[in-house]
Amino acid sequence: MATATASIEPAPIRADELVQGTSLWKDAWFRLKKNHVALFGLYTFCTIALLCVVVPFFTGYTYEQTEISLKASAPMEPIFLRSEARKVGEPKKSFIALSNLEDEFLEKPQSDRKAIVAKIASGEVYQEGRDTYQRSNQRHVFGTDPLGRDLLTRVLVGGRISLAVGFAATLVSVCIGVLWGATAGFAGGKVDTVMMRFADILYALPFTVIVILLMVMFGRNFILLFVAIGAVEWLNMARIVRGQIISLKNQEFIEAAISLGLPSHRILFRHLIPNVIGSIIIYATLTVPNVMLLEAVLSFLGLGVQPPLSSWGVLIDEGSRTMETSIWLLVCPAIFFSLTLFSLNFLGDGLRDALDPKSSKD
């Protein structure tokens, strides 16, 4: 047969150069690589995620270990060790930051105080009654919070929670949203109306009420936080997917699929949803920061992460209360949070360009 029709075959194209089709993903990655801003976003985000996962094991502190005498020490502030000799057993040790050292000698005249502090700061061992003061090698890179907990560890551990909530809740919302929206859009008619009116009703309910209800019903639970946020965020996803599916299902290739007698679920999952996957990914990358903000709101209301565990939202909230005296408590988590949000937004933007099959493929 091939020989019989060969005469009407147009001039052969050099087949060797198109042996392998480039897939959507290869193509998208190729275009993303050219977008420096998006690439910056991707790398920044990966770096932050990696830091959050790995570094807390090596800081030497845990996120919950308090040191009351170290209240709100500044980043990289010198730390001093005070050993209080006791009648029995080991001397009681505590750490004091440079800025608080003067307060130790309040009963002395001010000029003496200054001299003593300068002496200790220069590295001398100073004895005062039963207490010995000396310089210690401890460092807190980001300083400490009002309870003397290491801020670096707390920011990174908080980051783990924020990212986990962000991604898990987004995953939940994507799953529900895509299935719901695609089904409604594909079925059309009454099914569509009923499903989308249900989504509208959920829209109208205040978000916090739903979450509080869920929390009351199932108890405070870290996992539940994912579900609660995801259960609210899917509404937008469902609307977006539904709209896309409706515009797609009248396209000729869907008609062709129907005319081939393919069952509905096959058309939905193999033809329609892969065509909207670009929109889904873009919207998902923009949902992650949104969800992280929601988590911060919930934590602020006392419904989210419970102390001593923290998240970026919680840390920023705590930091904002002490911003007049110790600005780093606000700045450090805020930098991490905004960097993450920025990089995710840049990445989402870049993905939108990269995943659009109509954009140039040079």
Partner: protein, 336 residues
């Protein structure tokens, strides 16, 4: 026995602007292995007729108001969806007008080609893939084993239409509906695609319903032709007869409008007026307002398709009554 027997098909669209009678009382028969053309201008209901048979009418707003389409003892118009689904793509399949948009841009050609086999014939993937490669070779795509892994955008328009043909014919259907398969292609590719469809039809013994507005294509390609106007079949005859002895003024005017038949420098023939608005219900012949042979009776009596000689039917009332013998427009017959 006829392979497909369509009777009194009426497909209406209930739109905001009123009821559009897109297909109004259409009946035809298709014999095994034959090629039947449906000709008509845009909006004459050619495509809607075939979409109705394949269950592709969007409902709402579309509705099949009446009629039956018997195919192997099954009425395609009233059978359960599941039963129709098993016929679609297996026993009746379709090629669409625009090969650029009728392949899924996100799926490899291989994945799309094997789908009918996986669904209808319950083949294994590797088996289906082998068959898909063969079928691509059969439609004249060289190096099919490699090209099958490409995406549709890496194919040219003509090659995509070849892929569509391969896909439609992969499970050896008894009927192939070709909805203007060459309209979106340039002329040289058109000829290749027509030749290909003819070749495949000969190999497989498939009956073809060929929808087109190109009379030249009809002349070279079809055994029998139905001329449609305003949702009705106005003339039905073997291809030679349609051209040699037109029996409906619309068919005659259509042929006289072909530019190739005119002398240089002479004004081209056009049919005056516009097709009727299908949302308005009217009495009489839909072509009456544009017809050169119109008489009083044309506006009063509803026309019906009647055979004048065996195999050649017309819906022209005056021709049926013997009032006019030649439906051609006399004072314009110049070049032929």
């Amino acid at each position: 026995m006829a392979l497909l027997e369509v009777e009194n098909l009426r497909t209406y669209f209930y739109t905001r602007g009123g009821v559009v009678r897109a297909v109004d009382n259409v009946s035809f028969m298709l014999e095994p292995g034959e090629t039947m053309g449906i000709v008509g201008e845009s909006g004459s209901g050619k495509s809607v007729t075939c979409y109705s048979l394949l269950g592709l009418i969007p409902r709402p707003p579309g509705k099949i108001v009446s009629g039956s389409a018997l195919f192997g003892g099954v009425d395609l118009l009233s059978c359960p969806k599941e039963q129709l689904r098993r016929i679609q793509g297996k026993r009746i399949s379709m090629i669409f007008q625009d090969p650029m948009t009728s392949l899924n841009p996100y799926m490899r050609v291989s994945d799309q080609l094997v789908e009918p086999l996986l669904v209808h014939d319950k083949m294994s993937r590797s088996q289906a893939l082998t068959k898909a490669i063969t079928s691509l070779e059969e439609v004249g795509i060289q190096d099919a084993a490699n090209r099958i892994n490409l995406y549709p955008h890496q194919f040219s328009g003509g090659m995509r239409q070849r892929v569509m043909i391969a896909m439609a014919l992969i499970s050896r259907p008894e009927i192939l509906v070709a909805d203007e398969p060459t309209t979106a292609l340039d002329v040289t590719v058109q000829a290749q695609i027509l030749e290909l469809i003819r070749q495949r039809q000969k190999d497989l013994g498939t009956a073809v319903i060929f929808i087109t507005h190109d009379l030249g294509v009809v002349a070279s390609f079809c055994n029998r032709v139905n001329v449609m106007y305003a949702g009705r079949i106005v003339e039905s005859a073997p291809t030679d007869e349609i051209f040699a002895r037109p029996m409906h003024p619309y068919n005659a005017s259509l042929q006289q409008s072909i530019p190739a038949l005119h002398k240089k420098g002479q004004a081209l023939f056009t049919i005056p007026g516009l097709p009727p608005d299908l949302t308005i219900e009217f009495r009489g012949c839909p072509f009456a307002s544009r017809c050169a042979h119109v008489g009083e009776i044309c506006k009063e009596q509803d026309p019906a398709l009647k055979q004048i000689v065996p195999g050649h039917g017309t819906s022209c009332i005056r021709f049926q009554r013997g009032e006019i013998a030649d439906v051609r427009i006399k004072n314009f017959v110049s070049a032929v």
